[in-house]
């Protein structure tokens, strides 16, 4: 029997921090090997385009370039990646697997998809060489909007499928229609949730070395799953698993996208290292990260809640679309999490949930911290808020009336969870968490006194209180090996990777408690396939639960071995032995004892015999594979102040009451919650990936993609409740994702509350001041993602002369800023070259093509202007009309301008101004040309 916990539950300082804080921790980019080569990828600038021809010969000739690979160069190594998570066994489930490819062969399906790989002596040279590659691509209409994607005649992301439908799943519990018929009220709304990035501080990186003499491949990888990567790479490269060592050293944040496996770069860098016989490294830069690392959160929900007069939930129906992105390698984890987490801590007797996963020409969707759970929580919590309002109930009261009671567990929700097991809550105690949170935030006083008082003073403050559950700690399994070395130090090896979660401390606390040794004396190794051969990875808030429990089991087995060896060595029965402080002593004779280190030596003798049926050393390996996950829960409460004049929101207080079962280290748990809340605040109000209709990401840098900073995130006030999980001996539940799951729902409720006078209703996350402004003004939001130029201009000349002028290439050329030449290449077709630069952007050559169409001389025409250059491309479509005017001819125009490439990602802030300026300059130049002609 293990002694009662001594360290588990304590705020133990982290074992790993000394190394991290003094810069002695190894990250993949720190790997520098002799002769190492560097990689840059040519990536698709188009969201959807057919690749007709690629010429890399000039890049290959550039000094310093060692190799350039295209899809054709990969031979048999070119094959789509594996389906990582097969869908769960849900009756009637439809799923179409289309997994990512290493390099684009025939068409690119999202901006950022790699087309060619350049390997060079330095990253600088590799990037220089990207400009040497010429492509002939045919842009295709992009699939961006989820509903449009499913409409008849929509362009297809994957032609082999008949539609863009990636999956369709229905899950049911009870009879929703009957519940609806019996309902006092039915609340119906549409909810939107949009995409963000994970924004780990360290981007992805892969380095690889092939040792030809040892016939061994070593791969350093920022993956969250080193063992599956090792196994997969060995199979792809035709090596034994034992010939491949994958090391996931310290990683600066995982957040989910690093559990996506066999990214193109991850597959190509080791291959290139073997082929070239030199070490190769690729470190993703931030610009690449925005389009090449997986993302999450695009969903559209049509949901309804059937409630009784007293606020009791009778049933929920939710039909939603889920954005899969261009490939669905990660299966259905995210949308199934959405449908399973929606039920929350509530007793929902009838549930109908249906989703359609949709392929789009956007970056792949795989789990990002929360992994679909926030969508479900947002829908459910918002429905409850609207129901409370409709019934005249307090927001807290409607929740109280629907919580599952403490005696309900285990509670079977009768649907299937992402881990293929039935969705069963192991334990929980929900109502007290709500009361704790309400007390901490001062809900009653705020609503009764402070809010009315401040409202009279013209200030708009609001409170939000929401509940959630989180399925954590799922299988299949993890393992751990605990070894006591002759020095007396304890070594723990486990297969999970670590990205900042404090594994080196949490696992050490568990083991140190069982063995009764100091926590600093326990050395934890994670993420090195040579150290531990079996495991899956760090994801789904499962590291502490699953690997932690395996550590516990292995430590208990080692403890048994200590007792067995000590019994023999000290010649005492086990019941007379005491284990404490790294020593075994005989009860009543404290001085008679032996250290673990000495016992370890005795257990591994150089002479004599290790008896049959025993093993040498003080070492044990154990595995833990839970049948199903443990269910964490909590309540978030926040107070905000909104300035309705500026639409700016300030978060004044943030309270979290969290229950992740038995706490291993409250300090680490609080860090996870604080970080999660920051992530959630980002999702709620700051972060949104904005795609235009052509699939171009419009905020592909931290200039325009806004992460909340220290000044935007309040210090979270945290309280813990501990409802142990009955599924593992310590009673653990996971916590990694919890902080960000209910934040959007809390934020929406609080902002709506603050703006109650304005009748604002929030059904969309992320919010932004711009969107709040539209809500406050009740204006229909304008499309934000396209630059529209509208205006008129009066030419000082007759209409016929103006018309002729507009067809003349010599004149049109003068209207193009920086035009170097423009030639008529056919009726209404003009080709040319222009040199454009602005401010910090160095003037660069653009090839330009103008097409005039639908011409009705001398009244109207349409015009398409396409430009292509080293930092991207632009396409403008314009409708132009000419009419007689008292001082000549009035031109009215309406143009839409879209851009792609670097300028699309980082130039949005200035696009409107630049387009306007160029239009103005062009029109003035035309007028001048007209004057010269008349």
């Amino acid at each position: 029997m293990a002694p009662p916990p001594r360290l588990v539950g304590k705020r133990v300082l982290r074992n790993e921090d000394a190394r991290l804080l003094t810069g002695r921790a190894l990250f993949v980019d720190d790997v520098r090997l002799e002769g190492m080569l560097h990689v840059a990828f040519l990536r698709s600038e188009h969201a959807h385009a057919r690749l007709k021809r690629i010429d890399v010969s000039a890049a290959r000739r550039r000094p310093g370039v060692v190799a350039v690979y295209t899809a054709a160069d990969l031979g048999d190594y070119w094959r789509p990646g594996p389906l990582l998570v097969p869908p769960p066994p849900i009756p009637g489930l439809e799923f179409h697997a289309c997994t990512q490819v290493p390099l684009v062969k025939d068409k690119s399906r999202h901006v950022g998809e790699p087309i060619a790989m350049v390997v060079a002596e330095s990253r600088y040279v590799a990037e220089d060489a990207l400009a040497d590659i010429t492509l002939d691509v045919e842009p295709l209409a992009a699939v961006v909007d989820l509903e449009a994607a499913l409409s008849r005649g929509a362009p297809l992301v994957h032609e082999q499928l008949k539609s863009n439908r990636a999956a369709h799943v229905i899950q049911k519990k009870g009879d929703y229609d009957a519940a609806r018929a019996a309902a006092h009220k039915v609340i119906t709304r549409r909810f939107l949730y949009d995409r963000g990035i994970s924004a780990a501080i360290e981007n992805r990186a892969v380095a690889a070395r092939w040792d030809a003499r040892a016939e061994e491949l070593t791969v350093w990888d920022t993956t969250q799953a080193p063992i599956p990567i090792r196994n997969g790479l060995a199979a792809m490269l035709g090596l034994l698993e034992s010939q491949v060592r994958v090391i996931a050293p310290f990683v600066g944040g995982g957040f989910g996208p690093k559990i996506m496996m066999f990214y193109p770069e991850e597959v190509l860098v080791p291959w290139a290292a073997m082929r070239l016989g030199r070490p190769v490294k690729w470190t993703e830069d931030r610009r690449e990260n925005f389009t090449a690392t997986t993302q999450e959160r695009g969903q559209v929900h049509d949901a309804e809640l059937a409630v009784a007069k007293d606020g009791k939930i009778l049933g929920v129906k939710d039909v939603f679309l889920h954005d899969s992105g261009a490939y669905d390698s990660y299966g259905l984890t995210v949308p199934i999490n959405s449908q399973c987490t929606l039920l929350g801590p509530y007793d929902v007797p009838n549930y109908y949930t249906e989703f359609t996963a949709v392929f789009t020409n956007k970056t792949l969707v795989t789990p990002v911290r929360g992994a679909g759970r926030q969508h479900g929580v947002f829908v459910m919590e918002r429905l409850l808020d609207f129901a409370a309002r409709a019934l005249g109930l307090d927001r807290l009261e409607i929740r109280r009336r629907n919580y599952l009671p403490p005696g309900a567990f285990p509670f079977n929700n009768e649907i299937i969870f992402q881990d293929s097991a039935p969705l069963v809550y192991d334990s929980g105690d929900y109502a007290p968490a709500l009361e704790d949170a309400a007390r901490m935030i001062g809900y009653e006083k705020f609503v009764r006194e402070e809010q009315p008082r401040l409202r009279v003073a013209g200030r708009h403050v609001g409170v939000g209180v929401v509940s959630y559950i989180e399925g954590t700690g799922i299988g299949p399994y993890e393992g751990a090996r605990v070894t006591i070395e002759p020095s007396g130090r304890v070594r723990v090896a486990t297969g999970v990777g670590t990205q900042g979660q404090g594994h080196f401390t949490a696992f050490a606390q568990i083991v140190a408690d069982v063995l009764d040794v100091p926590v600093e004396g326990v050395h934890v190794v994670t993420g090195d396939t040579r150290e531990f051969n079996w495991g899956t990875g760090t994801f789904a808030s499962r590291g502490a639960v699953v690997a932690g429990t395996a550590c516990h089991a292995a430590a208990v087995a080692v403890r048994d071995k200590i007792v067995a060896v000590a019994t023999r060595v000290l010649n005492q029965p086990p019941e007379k032995l005491e284990l404490a402080g790294g020593r075994v002593t005989v009860k009543g004779a404290k001085d008679d004892g032996i250290s673990y280190g000495a016992l370890a030596t005795r257990a591994n003798p150089l002479r004599g015999a290790v008896k049959p049926g025993t093993e040498p050393g003080l070492e044990a390996t154990a595995y833990y594979g839970p049948d199903r996950g443990s269910t964490a829960s909590g309540v978030h409460a926040m107070i905000v102040e909104v300035d309705p004049e500026t639409a700016m929101v300030e978060i004044q207080r943030y309270v979290v009451v969290h229950d992740c079962g038995k706490l291993i280290n409250p300090m680490i748990v609080e860090g996870q919650i604080q970080g999660g809340v920051a992530h959630g605040i980002g999702n709620a109000f700051y972060e949104q990936l904005v795609y235009d209709d052509t699939g171009q990401l419009q905020n592909a840098s931290f200039m325009d993609y806004l992460l909340p900073t220290a000044t935007d995130v309040p210090r979270v006030e945290i309280a813990h409740r501990e409802t142990p999980s009955p599924l593992n001996p310590i009673g653990l539940k996971g916590v990694g994702e919890a902080g960000c799951i209910p934040t959007g729902a809390a934020f929406a409720q609080a902002v709506e509350d603050a703006l109650a006078d304005f009748g604002v209703e929030i059904t969309e996350i992320p919010l932004s001041p711009d969107k709040l402004f539209d809500l406050l003004k009740k204006t229909r939001p304008k499309k934000r993602n396209v630059v529209v130029l509208e205006g008129s201009f009066v030419f000082a000349g007759p209409r016929a002369a103006v018309w002729d002028l507009l067809q003349d290439p010599a004149v049109l050329g003068t209207a193009l800023p920086g035009a170097m030449r423009l030639e008529r290449t056919g009726d209404g077709h003009y080709d040319g070259l222009m040199k454009v630069g602005i401010g910090p952007v160095t003037a660069a050559e653009f090839s330009v093509r103008i097409t005039l169409r639908d011409r009705e001389p001398p009244a109207r025409y349409g015009m398409i202007v396409e430009g292509k250059g080293s930092f991207g491309f632009t396409r403008g479509t314009a409708q132009v009309a000419l009419a007689d005017h008292k001082s000549g001819t009035e031109m009215t125009y309406r143009a839409e301008v879209q851009v792609g490439g670097t300028i699309a990602g980082v130039g949005q802030r200035l696009l409107d101004s630049v387009a306007r300026r160029m239009t103005k300059q062009g029109l003035e130049a035309l007028n001048k040309a007209l004057a010269a002609r008349l």
């Binding site: 806004l706 001041p769 204006t779 304008k782 160095t842 670097t902 949005q908 802030r909 200035l910």
Partner: protein
């Protein structure tokens, strides 16, 4: 995100710097604090063939107070200006605006002249200098010339600075008696490019009426926008709440034609300008009255 190849020069004097600029006319770019130029180079949007690093020219940095006002060397770090007691006393608008520029790390590298010459329409300092009616000293192969801030800004990222010239010094006149100033902006996060911002200076006459006002706006045009209609609306008027509101409305409806982008529509920017001009004028008036 590695820059394209470039040639690097680090002159020790203004003359040397000008000589390099002249030699590579048009292809050379002066490097001040590098907080905008270097990221643009890493994106390969800026590809200067030659970089002329001004960071080792001691003569270009420093703050001097005089009877006429304040003179700030172009290479003076923003952080130094922010912490300078003379600036706080003689140009409180500059001191008030500076903390809105990005973050301390960036202000520690970023220079006053670099920001002014870069002419980003969202930058705080150009609007502040326009509001203060500052003068910029430029030197080049044709000698030294002074130009009013208002004249310096000619368009989007475009200034009166020739490719072979350097901005070397900024002169800020002493505040008029019974005057007050205020800087306000709305940014998504502290330190971001503002969605809109206002730098306002108001001078009162003996009767407490507005004798003169200069209101400059940022992030709502091609460069700093001098809100002339707003200033006209209050000049000679008693500074009542209605008068101030009238000026704010004039700024929002007549002085600007703001662009829209993914962060703020043109309509939202207009609304912000109305609110911020009102708040800035209120604060500037309170300060003027207390002098």
């Amino acid at each position: 995100m590695k820059p394209a190849p470039f040639e690097y020069h680090r002159p020790g004097t203004v003359e040397e710097a000008l000589a390099v600029l002249a030699r590579h006319s048009g292809d050379a770019k002066p490097l001040a604090g590098g907080q905008s130029l270097i990221p643009a180079m890493n994106f390969r949007l800026a590809r200067p063939a030659v970089l002329v690093d001004l960071n080792r020219i001691p003569a270009l940095a420093g703050i001097r107070g005089s009877a006429d006002g304040l003179r700030i060397g172009a290479m003076t770090r923003q952080r130094a200006v922010e912490r300078d007691a003379t600036v706080a006393r003689d140009a409180p608008l500059v001191a008030e605006a500076l903390p809105h520029i990005a973050h301390p790390q960036i202000r520690t590298r970023g220079t006053v002249g670099g920001s002014l010459a870069h002419a980003d329409p969202a930058a705080e300092l150009p609007a502040v200098m326009v509001a203060l009616d500052a003068t910029f000293d430029l030197v080049g192969p044709r000698g030294r010339r002074s130009i009013a801030a208002t004249e310096f800004y000619t368009g989007l990222f475009t200034t009166a600075l020739a490719p072979d010239e350097l901005l070397v010094e900024i002169a800020i006149p002493r505040p008029a008696p019974r005057s007050g100033s205020a800087f306000v902006e709305v940014a998504r996060r502290h330190g971001d490019y503002a969605l809109a911002g206002v730098a306002a200076v108001v001078a009162l006459d003996d009767a407490g009426r507005c004798r003169a006002a200069r209101i400059a706006l940022l992030s709502v045009g091609d460069g700093p926008v001098l809100a002339r209609k707003a200033a006209q609306a209050i000049t000679g008027e008693s500074l009542t709440a209605e008068a101030i509101k009238g000026a704010a409305d004039a700024a929002a409806s007549q002085d600007i034609d703001p662009p829209g982008d993914i962060h703020a529509s043109a309509a939202y920017r207009r609304q912000l300008v109305g609110v911020l001009v009102r708040r800035a004028l209120q604060r500037a008036c309170e300060r003027a009255r207390s002098h």
